[in-house]
Amino acid sequence: MSSHREAPEIAKDPVADSTDLYAFVSPDRPDTVTLIANYIPLEAPDGGPNFYEFGDDVRYAIHIDNDGDGHPDVTYELRFRSEVHDPETFLYNTGPITSLDSPNWNRRQHYTVTRVSGYGEHAVRRVLATDLACPPCNIGPRSTPHYAALAAAAIHPLPGGRRVFAGQRQEGFYVDLGSIFDLGALRPFQNLHLIPMAAAPGINGTQFTNVHSIALQVPITDLTRGHVRPTGVSDNRAVIGVWTAAYRRKAIIRQGAEPDVESGPWVQVSRLGNPLFNEVIVPMGDKDRWNALPPSADAAFAKYVAHPELARLIPVLYPGVFPNLAGLTAARADLMAILLTGLPTGVIPGFQNFTGPRPADLLRLNVAVPPATKPSILGILGGDLAGFPNGRRVRDDVTTIELRAIAGATYPLVNASYTPDAAAGVVTDGLTDSQAGSHVSYLDTFPFLGTPFSGFEHPAA
């Protein structure tokens, strides 16, 4: 998956497990950037009576690096607080929840948003809002009628033209999980697989699941170096690097029936920049370590990008289909640029998202590129400079984009003499078509991810 359960330790800690990260210039307010960090993978919509919620004991952060050093210059932090109105009932709700202050809603969450400038000892913290309400989970038509309106009421304004939403959303990431994890099979091409089967359409393995989203919409000038709004794509102040991270206290003492005692510094337990980085690039023995380190330490992982395991596997799994990729033994400077430094000027006409030579897994967004009038879910590979890997929008088909890049489709960007295999330009997990959005529903305005599935209407299979 993008980053769902992508490392052994975080797979056991769902509330701190970041699943997807999005960053894009907002089509509904082009002077702003929308940042979305998803947590809690693969929520079954009917997973009650203790429905999903953020961790009260987790610090959630969306970090922005605007000077290319791999350290945060701006951070938005969220902390959550749960409360139970009636401890005498086992029920999540005792009647229809028709408003965010409904007395029928028994267990609810509120949160605090803090903006941090700088990092470490020089960080300056400013609390933007406290006691903001999350919406409930989508239970069903009796418990949460008019859910879309209920969730819309949980979009809160923040000072400075910002707004925030934190709560359950429909999973926006689509991928054929079951096939890919079965020895790298891609159903449309599995007749060509080392262990062949009849070709078939792809199946979205995350369909009918939900996630918990932290969505922020903030002015571009809130994130850029010097608080400017660059208008030229070549302006190096136009590029920001985004990642999300979750932190837990260093120590916890469990006291049985008494409340736990937590103490010590916040320790990073989860991280996500580019989709699939820790999932597919970093090997099993380093995944937990990667999750514990900041992007500024990513030089240690650059070797996995330069010589990705998947690029070696593809020609083996699909014999005779990728002969040019099989012969490509040079370091993958194309992937290094896409994932670790950004694409410098001159590689793609009219575009750059270069943050400097320091390798760091950041979701890099050039904010001077306006929202596309006719977006392509293949992003830059589809000729759409407003899509991944220039940031990431909710509909972008990042699985196919990265599959094609790793298969060699982007190597000519750095070596014009290389001819990609024909298959590199068409490989997909079978969910890439003009109707890919039909697998999932989205919103055209903030917070962009769709209304979560209700447990009544979409019980777990």
Partner: protein
């Protein structure tokens, strides 16, 4: 680590009077540390990181203070022995 937090911990009687027996690394010693009158946390956690060197970490709120105090560690080991756990 902040000075405020360091002083907060030093005010604890069990630590303030303790003298470190050895230590060559960058981990600070507590020899001669004087108590400072600042509010102490009501609860904090102590982690003996290395019995051999006497390296101890104290966790309180969002802070972590690391120092060497072999005498303190020896006392803790004696307490463990008295309870039959060693």
């Amino acid at each position: 680590m902040s000075q405020l937090s360091r002083r907060t911990f030093m005010v604890q009687a069990s630590l303030a009077g303790a003298a470190a027996a050895s230590g060559t690394a960058a981990v600070p010693l507590l020899t001669g540390a004087a108590p400072v009158a600042v509010p102490a946390p009501t609860t904090f956690l102590l982690h003996v990181r290395d019995v051999r060197t006497g390296e101890v970490a104290v966790l309180a709120d969002a802070e972590e203070i690391v120092f060497r105090d072999s005498r303190l560690v020896a006392s803790l080991l004696q307490a463990l022995a008295r309870t039959g756990r060693q």
